[in-house]
Amino acid sequence: MGLRGGPGRLWHRGRRALRGRRAWVWAAALLAALLVFPLVGRAYQVALGLALLADVALASAWALFSGPTRYLSLAAAAFYGVGAYTTALVGAGVAWPAPIVAGAAAGALLSLPVGLLALRLRGPYFAILTFGLSELVRHTVIWYESNVTGTVGRVLVLPLERRTLYWSVLVIAALAVSSAILLRRSRWGLALAAIGGDEERAEVLGVRPVGVKVAVFALSAALMGATGAAMAPRWTYIDPQVAFNPLISFQVIIMALLGGVGRPAGPVVGALVLGLLSELFLLQFRYAYMMVLGTVLILVVLGLPHGVVGWRAEERTEDLVRRLRWAIARRIPRRFAMRRQHQLFIGGEWQDGPGGRTFPDVNPATGETFTRIAAADAETARRAVEAAERARTEWGELQPGVRAGIVLKAAQIWERRHEDLEQMLTTETGAVRAKAGFEVGYCTDLIRQAASLPYQATGEVAPSNVSGKINYFMRKPVGVVSVISPWNFPYILTLRAVAPALALGNAVVLKPSEETPLAGGLLVGEVFEEAGVPPGVLNVITCARSEVQEVGDVLVTHPAVGVVSFTGSTATGRALAEKAGRHLKRIVLELGGKSPLIVLEDADLDLAVNAAAFGGFFHQGQICMAATRILVEHSLADTFASQLVEKLGTLRMGDPSDPQTAIGPITSPTQLEKIRAHVDDAVAKGAKVLIGGHARGPYFEPTLLTGVTPEMRCYHEETFGPVVALTSVKNADEAVRLANDTSYGLSAAIITGDPKRGMALAERIQSGIVHVNDSTVHDEPHAPFGGIKGSGLGRHGGRAAIEAFTEIRWMSLQTERRHYPFDR
């Protein structure tokens, strides 16, 4: 590759720096050209530029309102005309820019009656009424002029330079385009798009259509009025037939539609193309040109529904509901939203909690409650289990292909929604961008993998000791699966149980952690609902901390529940397992860990440091398989320690939505308190802090301790935070001994230059998972994931999921008459 050094590398860097900012470079260049143009252009060219800019302003202003809402306004001529007339009336009396402001005001003022009257109607009615009102204005002006002043029209002489006009219109056009850009991503734009998609639904979801519509309609009219006012001084005689010509309305629509109203650039492109064509051909081939214009309009409507700009990136209408929901939940302010809380999903319906109770969902980075979640109680949980019980039979009997199809569809939806899913993870758990992106991407694969399971639930045909008997060992769904998921990797740890359980024909009741009711539960419910999972097959109940225990009890003890999948702390897991045992329920537990990372003296130091930094501090160490104990052979210990400290010093801590951030906030205040207690306890008992050790607001610094002894809490207990204990060991044997000196046994890692030796050591470590020459933190959808000792029971993932979520049944067929001892 020729990019190693010299100019090639510079070029490469330059390109990288510009990538993504190219649009801005273009915009700046264009603006500069537009500003210089009237100084160097000839008079004719300046006049042409003026006309084109006016077209751009009008088309953008029209598309501002009519684009997203699909309200086809035919009143552009009225707003343009009223602006022009304003200049004719006040222009001579005041200084120049004032008539433009007056024209804008006149346009906005006229838009109020027009909007209030017409915006109650939809479709062609709205178009016709706006056309009618526009024509009414035109004819009233004509009638007024001819009756009151005696002549139609009036003389208008404003001694203005062409350049002044040009710059005025340039400012208006820039205003129109920039409002279109700003509107596109703003709450108002989303509300407008929602109105355009399905007004009634938007209203139900909490958009107030009248206010939004009238306001944006007025803004669009004001811009058109300003354009009219700024263009009027070109005429020496203002004729209402010309100023209010309905052709203006049509031309504006054709321009906007030709370019495409899906993006702000559409109307601009359309206006430039059509404006230039008009300028070139309109006067020369008047009627023929108009015929071509009509043909273009028809062809655009038939063949280019999204315009020239939208040619490649057609907006999918199904996305609209998603955007709308997203808008309601996140961007549209409270006063717009009637639905202020997220509901439970039971039996295919979204419903409030009992008594309308809710609990707050808090953004850990800001501490603000960003939404409220419906709170379920034990009775709700019972209803959810019963809904699942009703739905299970039909779902379990569906052909595997159908179930696989629905799960695959969920994977597609998941992939399509990745942006807002990532956003939610950052908001709800404080996950940094890299973690959110990783987790959401991983889940797409996870769901896809689950979609392969329906076909893998195979059984056996076995021989028999009885002649003529055929034994079938068949895999059948267990029925209802309860899933209780944690908050640290809400998507993965929820979906790895929910998706296979569903795919294998079970109905599921899901209870996410109270820290992540959306990411761990309701969003998953939304995705599978959209994918077409029948009502009752997936139920999501969320509850506040005070109800967790009683709700969890129902999910374990209800007679209809067949299997419980729990991921969380060892203490809770133990309690649930006791209950499950009493009720003879199968339970799959994935609990805490105290995973060791062993660095042998022949290790690649760079790899070891990176694996340790990632394993110990990714997602602030809030990972069950986090490498919380690093055991380094003593010859390497000092270098390793200094390099790891240096590495940790470079990790940026802060706003998780900033892509540069590596360390985000701790997800809950309780958790933060626990981490602090562990570190203080260790320090008090003689541990040495190599780096970090302090909480900063909701954050906790990446902390590296040495000298951690068995008396300290963080030696045995799971800290679940960015706290890692570094221990120097004499040799590999001691490393293994210390690694096994824990009640946990989830993951482990060994870094060594000798892979064979690594595998041999791996055999001796007591854990469910060992990775040689990698970090402790690693998972794949089809791998049997789980721990031994205090880290859990059973496995998730791949074939293990089939074991976990199906029941093996023995059925047999006797094909010839069998002789029983009682036979005579």
């Binding site: 699909r70 939809r122 062609p124 009424l129 015929m291 214009l293 009509g294 309009l297």
Partner: protein
């Protein structure tokens, strides 16, 4: 207040209203069937008028007789337009609102093409001829004979249309399709064919009204749009999609307009026309008589 004069004015309005009704019935047939609001309706009317003018002035054919030529020709043109444009549009799976909006845009395109085509061929000059321009004494007042003839012809054509819709199998198919597109499809109505027929019929009816109007008023390529607006007012008065409503709406508008102009000033005719349109849309957007389900603002699948 002279009551007799008022009755005169009203009766004159009624005669013109008959023509309005004929224009509107055609437009409404198209809308009721396809949800296609054809703003170029008036252009078909204008073409019909020019055809009659050419036949009468060029070949000396009686204007009334020229209907036999102009109606089928424009009917064929309507069927052609349907095949070229609307069939494609209707084939796209869209929501009803989108369909209505798009068809509106397409008909604006048609309007541009037809109007400017006519301008190219006939130029913008005002054309006209004299036909039956003599007074006719009837029911105690005097009417211009051509208006009476036009009204009677319009009434006959409308009656024929009603007979067609009520008494023939094809007419039944049309009505079935208006009431329930899916049901009609299920019992075997060939939708595309009925659509083509009705679009042609609408255009043909416009041509008949154009021919009749050319006996009364002068022609320019611009006459189309005002009549389209008139027809829109009428069908909104009578209810979009209701053919009977248009008939009544046409007569009402004729009288209202005549009285309005009589009480104010002739140059306010367009203002009154648009004011009535706006008023009706604001107060009774789904028609004066229409109590049926179709109301604007509902979004449903087309």
């Amino acid at each position: 207040m002279n009551l007799a004069l008022l009755a005169d004015v009203a009766a004159g309005g009624l005669l013109l209203g008959g023509l309005y009704a004929l224009i509107a019935v055609g437009l409404n047939l198209q809308y009721g069937l396809m949800r296609v609001l054809n703003v170029a309706h008036g252009e078909f009317l204008m073409l019909g008028g020019y055809l009659t003018y050419l036949l009468h002035v060029g070949l000396g054919m009686d204007p009334l007789l020229s209907l036999v030529v102009s109606a089928p020709v424009i009917f064929a043109a309507g069927v052609g337009v349907h095949a070229l444009v609307y069939r494609r549009l209707l084939r796209q799976e869209r929501t009803r609102e989108e369909l209505e909006a798009n068809s509106l845009l397409i008909s604006f395109g048609l309007l541009f093409i037809l109007q400017n085509g006519a301008l190219l061929i006939f130029s913008a000059d005002i054309r006209g001829y004299q036909y039956l321009d003599r007074p006719l004494r009837m029911l105690g007042t005097v009417f211009p004979a051509n208006r009476v003839v036009a009204f009677v012809t319009a009434a006959v054509v409308t009656a024929l249309l009603f007979v067609f819709l009520r008494r023939t199998l094809t007419g039944a198919a049309v009505r079935a399709l208006m009431q329930d597109p899916v049901g009609a499809r299920l019992i075997g109505v060939r939708v595309a064919r009925v659509h083509a027929l009705c679009f042609g019929l609408g255009a043909g009816l416009a041509a008949v009204s154009g021919s009749l109007l050319s006996m009364l008023f002068e022609l320019t390529p611009f006459v189309g749009l005002p009549y389209t607006i008139t027809a829109l007012v009428v069908i909104i008065l009578g209810g979009l999609g209701s053919v009977g409503g248009s008939l009544l709406g046409g007569l009402i508008l004729g009288v209202v307009e005549a009285l309005g102009v009589y009480f104010t000033a002739p140059d306010l005719r367009m203002v009154i026309s648009y004011a009535v349109l706006a008023l009706v849309l604001v107060l009774r957007p789904y028609g004066l008589f229409n109590t049926l389900a179709h109301r604007p603002g509902q979004s449903e699948r087309a």
